[in-house]
C-alpha cells in the first residue's frame, strides 16, 4: 500500500498518477478543455455581436468611427509584444534559465498593465465622461465635437454597439486582470526557484491562457475599430 500513497522518488508526481508522462498529459488535456470552455463562453458574445451588427449596420459604422484606431492599434502592439515575452518565458522555463524567465514574466506583466491602463485612460474614461456609456448614464452631448455626430443614429442600435463594445472588451480586460494575479504568483514562485527544466508546466499553461486572451483581442480589434 505504501507505494500507492506517494512517490518518494519523485516529489513532483502527485500520488494518484502512475507516471510523470500521465500527469503531464492529464494536465495538458485539462488546460485545453478549459480553453475550449472559454471559447464557448466568448462565443455567446460573438453571436450577439453578429446578430446586432447585421441588424444595425449604420450604427455599427458610426460607432466604430468614434473609436480611436491609433490608441487601439498601439494597444494591440503592446499585447502582441506581451505574447512574445510570454512565449520567450516558456522557452526559458523549458531550458531552466530562471533569471531570464523571471524577467520575461515581469515584462509580460508590465505590458499587460500598460494595455489595461491605456484602455482605461484613453478609451473607457473619456467615453463615460462624454455620456457614451450605455444604460442609465447614456447621454451623448450633440455639441461634443467627437461624439456629436452619433446623435443621428440614436435609437437605431447605437447603444447596442457601445454595450457590446464595453461588455466584450471589458470581459477581455477582466481576463487580463485575472492573468495579472496569476502572473504575480508565478513571478514569486520563479524567484523562489520553483521552476526548472523538469517542472515548468504551470508556466506553459499560463502561456496558453495568455495567448488565448491575446487571440480574443486580435478578433475584437477589427470587429470594433475597423468597421466601415
Amino acid at each position: 500500500m505504501s507505494s500507492l500513497d506517494s512517490h518518494a522518488d519523485n516529489p513532483y508526481l502527485a500520488h494518484h498518477f502512475e507516471t510523470e508522462e500521465q500527469q503531464t498529459e492529464s494536465c495538458t488535456l485539462g488546460m485545453w478543455l478549459f480553453l475550449a470552455q472559454e471559447v464557448m463562453f466568448f462565443g455567446g458574445l460573438f453571436l450577439a455581436y453578429a446578430i446586432y451588427r447585421s441588424l444595425y449596420p449604420e450604427a455599427w459604422s458610426a460607432g466604430s468611427h468614434t473609436l480611436d484606431v491609433v490608441v487601439g492599434g498601439i494597444n494591440t502592439v503592446f499585447l502582441l509584444l506581451s505574447s512574445f515575452t510570454m512565449a520567450m518565458g516558456v522557452y526559458y522555463a523549458q531550458t531552466g534559465k530562471q533569471k531570464q524567465l523571471a524577467l520575461m514574466l515581469l515584462a509580460t506583466l508590465a505590458l499587460g498593465i500598460t494595455f489595461v491602463t491605456v484602455k482605461w485612460f484613453f478609451e473607457y474614461a473619456p467615453k463615460i465622461e462624454a455620456g457614451v456609456f450605455p444604460g442609465k448614464l447614456w447621454a451623448p452631448n450633440p455639441a461634443n465635437h467627437h461624439y456629436g455626430q452619433l446623435a443621428f443614429f440614436e435609437g437605431q442600435g447605437l447603444q447596442m454597439f457601445f454595450l457590446l463594445y464595453f461588455v466584450m472588451t471589458g470581459m477581455h480586460a477582466l481576463h487580463m486582470i485575472i492573468g495579472f494575479g496569476i502572473l504575480l504568483v508565478l513571478i514569486v514562485m520563479t524567484m523562489q526557484g520553483k521552476f526548472h527544466a523538469q517542472r515548468y508546466l504551470p508556466i506553459l499553461f499560463f502561456g496558453l491562457y495568455w495567448h488565448f486572451v491575446d487571440i480574443v483581442w486580435v478578433f475584437l480589434f477589427p470587429m470594433f475599430y475597423l468597421v466601415s
Binding site: 500500500m1 494518484h16 502512475e18
Partner: protein, 552 residues
C-alpha cells in the same frame, strides 16, 4: 505496483470476496476538516450526496405546496404572485441543485475512478473546489428564497426577467453563473480522468457503459454550460445597467435570449438523463446476468445524443416567431436525436431476453425507468412535431412530458444507482423488503401524479396558473393524490437506508455478484486509495456467466 492482480471473472474463478477492510475511506480520519478539505473523490461524492438530498427536500416542499393549491380550481391560499414564485423555485432548485449534479456529482464522482481502476480523479483539488463553488451557488439560492423569491420561471425569459420582474433576478443570474462553473469543472475533471487514468488493459471498448454515458455528459457540461453563463451574465448586465440587450424597446431581441438559453438548456436535459442511462446499463446487465446487448451501439448512442443534442434547441421555440424553415430543420433533428435513445431502450430490453432476471430493488427501479422514460421520450416526439406542438405548447402535456423524463427517468435511475451501489459506498446492506416496496410505491405514485397531467394538458389546461377551469379539477385531484403517494415513496429510502448505516449487516465486497472493477477489485467500503494494487484488465465489461450468486 509491480505485482499484477488479474481480474479474470469466469465461472471457475469465483468472484473474490474481500472482507470489510480495517481502514477504509469513511473511517480513516474522523475530523470535520478531514471531510471539508478532503480531496478523496469518494468523500466529495458523499458531500454532494448530502447537499443535493437537502436541496431535493426543499424542491419537493415547493411542489407539495403548489400541488395542494391546485386541488381546487380557485386560488385558495396561494395567489398568482406567490404561486409564480413557488413553481419557479421548484424548477430552479430541482434543475440546478438536484438533477444536474445528481448522478454525475454523486455516483460519477464516487464510481468513475473505481470503475476505471484509478486512485482518484485527475484533478482532486479541482473536484473539491467544484463542490465549494456549488455550495456558494446553493447559498445564493437560499438567500433568494429568504429575501422573497423569484418569479420568472426557471427559464428566465426576457423581457419578463430583464424588464418586468421585481424579484431577485440578478441574484438568480449570479446563482446560475456560479453553479454552472461547478458543473463545468466536474465535466472537465471526468473527461481528463476517463482519457488518461484508465488502468492497464482497460481499452475504450472494455469500459462500463456508465463511463461512456458520463463521457458524453461531460462533453455537454464543458461545451454547453459556458454559453448559459454568458447568457445570464447579459441578463444581469441588462438589469443593473438598464441597457436593452434583450429588450425590444431598446433595440434588443428577446428571441436571441431564447436561442442562447436553449442552446445550453436543451443539451442540459441530456446532462440530466445520460448519466441515468449509464446507471441503467449497469443495473440491467447485472440483474439479467447478461452482457449488454449491442454494447457498441449503446456506447456510441451516448456520444450521438451529446452531438445531435446540441442541434435541436429550436424545438422549444416553434411558437416564438422563429422562421418556419428553421422549425422544419429543428423538427427533423429532434426526430433524429430520438433514435439513439430508442436504441438504448431496445438494447436494454434485448439484454433481458434469455437473461437470468433477478428482481432485486435496483432492478425494480431500472425496469420502471425503461417504461417511464419510454413514455417521456415518446411524448417528446409529439411535442417535436411542428403541428402538434402548437396546441400543446405551454400546457400540462409539456409538464407531464418532461417530468416523465426527469423524474420517471433521472430520479428513478438515481434511486436505482443509489440502491445498487449503496453496499459499495457504505459497506452496509439495507433491508430488502421495504426497499422493494418503496420502488413500487414510487412507480405507482409517479404515474398517478403525472399521467393525469397528460390528459389535462391534452384537453387544454395551460401550465403556470394558480387557478384553472373547473373542468380540469378531476385530473388535478388525481395528480395531487398521486404526489402524496410519490412523496411517501421518496421518504421511505431515508428510513431504511439510514437504518442500514447503523444496523445493516456487512455487505461484503460484491453482494450482487456483479462484474466490474468496483465490485471485483475493491472492498466495501473502498480503502482510501481504492485499490491495494492497480488492477490489470484482461476482459471486456459485463462478462456475466449466469452463475454469479446474490448474497443479500
Amino acid at each position: 505496483m509491480s505485482t499484477e492482480h488479474l481480474v479474470e471473472p469466469s465461472a471457475d474463478f469465483p468472484v473474490r470476496d474481500y472482507g470489510p477492510p480495517r481502514v477504509h475511506y469513511l473511517n480513516w480520519r474522523h475530523t470535520i476538516a478531514s471531510w471539508l478539505l478532503s480531496r478523496d473523490h469518494k468523500r466529495i461524492g458523499i458531500m454532494y450526496l448530502v447537499s443535493i438530498s437537502i436541496f431535493f427536500v426543499v424542491g419537493s416542499l415547493f411542489a407539495a405546496i403548489f400541488r395542494l393549491e391546485l386541488l381546487t380550481p380557485e386560488g385558495d391560499f396561494l395567489q398568482a404572485d406567490t404561486y409564480n414564485k413557488f413553481f419557479t423555485l421548484h424548477g430552479v432548485v430541482m434543475i440546478f441543485f438536484f438533477l444536474i449534479p445528481s448522478i454525475p456529482a454523486v455516483l460519477g464522482n464516487f464510481l468513475i475512478p473505481l470503475m476505471i481502476g484509478a486512485k482518484d480523479v485527475a484533478f482532486p483539488k479541482l473536484n473539491l473546489a467544484s463542490w465549494y463553488i456549488f455550495m456558494v451557488g446553493g447559498t445564493i439560492g437560499v438567500a433568494i428564497i429568504l429575501l422573497g423569491g423569484l418569479d420568472t420561471g426557471w427559464t428566465f425569459y426576457t423581457p419578463l426577467s430583464s424588464s418586468y420582474a421585481n424579484t431577485h433576478v440578478f441574484l438568480a443570474a449570479m446563482l446560475v453563473f456560479i453553479t454552472g462553473f461547478s458543473s463545468i469543472l466536474t465535466g472537465l475533471n471526468f473527461l481528463v480522468t476517463i482519457h488518461k487514468m484508465r488502468a492497464p488493459g482497460l481499452t475504450w471498448f472494455r469500459l462500463p457503459l456508465f463511463i461512456w454515458a458520463h463521457y458524453a455528459t461531460s462533453v455537454i457540461q464543458v461545451l454547453g454550460t459556458p454559453v448559459l453563463a454568458i447568457t445570464v451574465f447579459l441578463v444581469g448586465i441588462e438589469r443593473i445597467w438598464g441597457v436593452g440587450i434583450f429588450d425590444p424597446a431598446l433595440g434588443g431581441d428577446p428571441i436571441l435570449f431564447q436561442h442562447m438559453f436553449w442552446f445550453y438548456s436543451h443539451p442540459a436535459v441530456y446532462i440530466m438523463i445520460l448519466p441515468g442511462m449509464g446507471v441503467i446499463s449497469e443495473v440491467i446487465a447485472c440483474f439479467s446476468r447478461n452482457r449488454v446487448f449491442g454494447y457498441e451501439f449503446i456506447a456510441f448512442s451516448s456520444v450521438a445524443i451529446a452531438i445531435i443534442g446540441f442541434l435541436v434547441w429550436g424545438h422549444h421555440m416553434y411558437v416564438s416567431g422563429q422562421s418556419m424553415y428553421a422549425n422544419l430543420v429543428f423538427s427533423l433533428l429532434t426526430m433524429l436525436v430520438a433514435v439513439p435513445s430508442a436504441i438504448k431502450i431496445f438494447n436494454w430490453t434485448a439484454t433481458l431476453y434469455k437473461g437470468n432476471v433477478i428482481w432485486e430493488t435496483p432492478m425494480l427501479y431500472a425496469v420502471g425507468f425503461i417504461g417511464l422514460f419510454g413514455i417521456g421520450g415518446g411524448t417528446g416526439l409529439f411535442l417535436g412535431t411542428t403541428g402538434l406542438d402548437v396546441p400543446l405548447h405551454d400546457t400540462y402535456f409539456v409538464v407531464a412530458h418532461f417530468h416523465y423524463v426527469m423524474v420517471g427517468g433521472m430520479v428513478m435511475a438515481y434511486l436505482a444507482g443509489i440502491h445498487f451501489w449503496w453496499p459499495k459506498i457504505t459497506g452496509k446492506m439495507y433491508a430488502q423488503t421495504p426497499a422493494k416496496i418503496s420502488a413500487i410505491v414510487v412507480f405507482v405514485g409517479f404515474n398517478f401524479t403525472f399521467f393525469p397531467q397528460f390528459l389535462a394538458g391534452w384537453n387544454g389546461m395551460p401550465r403556470r396558473y394558480h387557478s384553472y377551469n373547473a373542468d380540469f379539477q378531476i385530473w388535478n385531484v388525481l395528480s395531487t393524490a398521486g404526489a402524496t403517494v410519490l412523496g411517501i415513496g421518496f421518504l421511505m429510502p431515508a428510513f431504511y437506508l439510514g437504518w442500514s448505516l447503523f444496523f445493516g449487516k456487512d455487505a461484503g465486497s460484491n453482494p450482487w455478484g456483479a462484474r466490474g472493477l468496483e465490485w471485483e477489485a475493491c472492498t466495501s467500503p473502498p480503502i482510501p486509495h481504492n485499490f491495494e494494487e492497480i488492477p490489470v484488465v484482461t476482459q471486456e465489461a459485463y462478462a456475466y456467466t449466469g452463475e454469479e450468486t446474490v448474497s443479500v
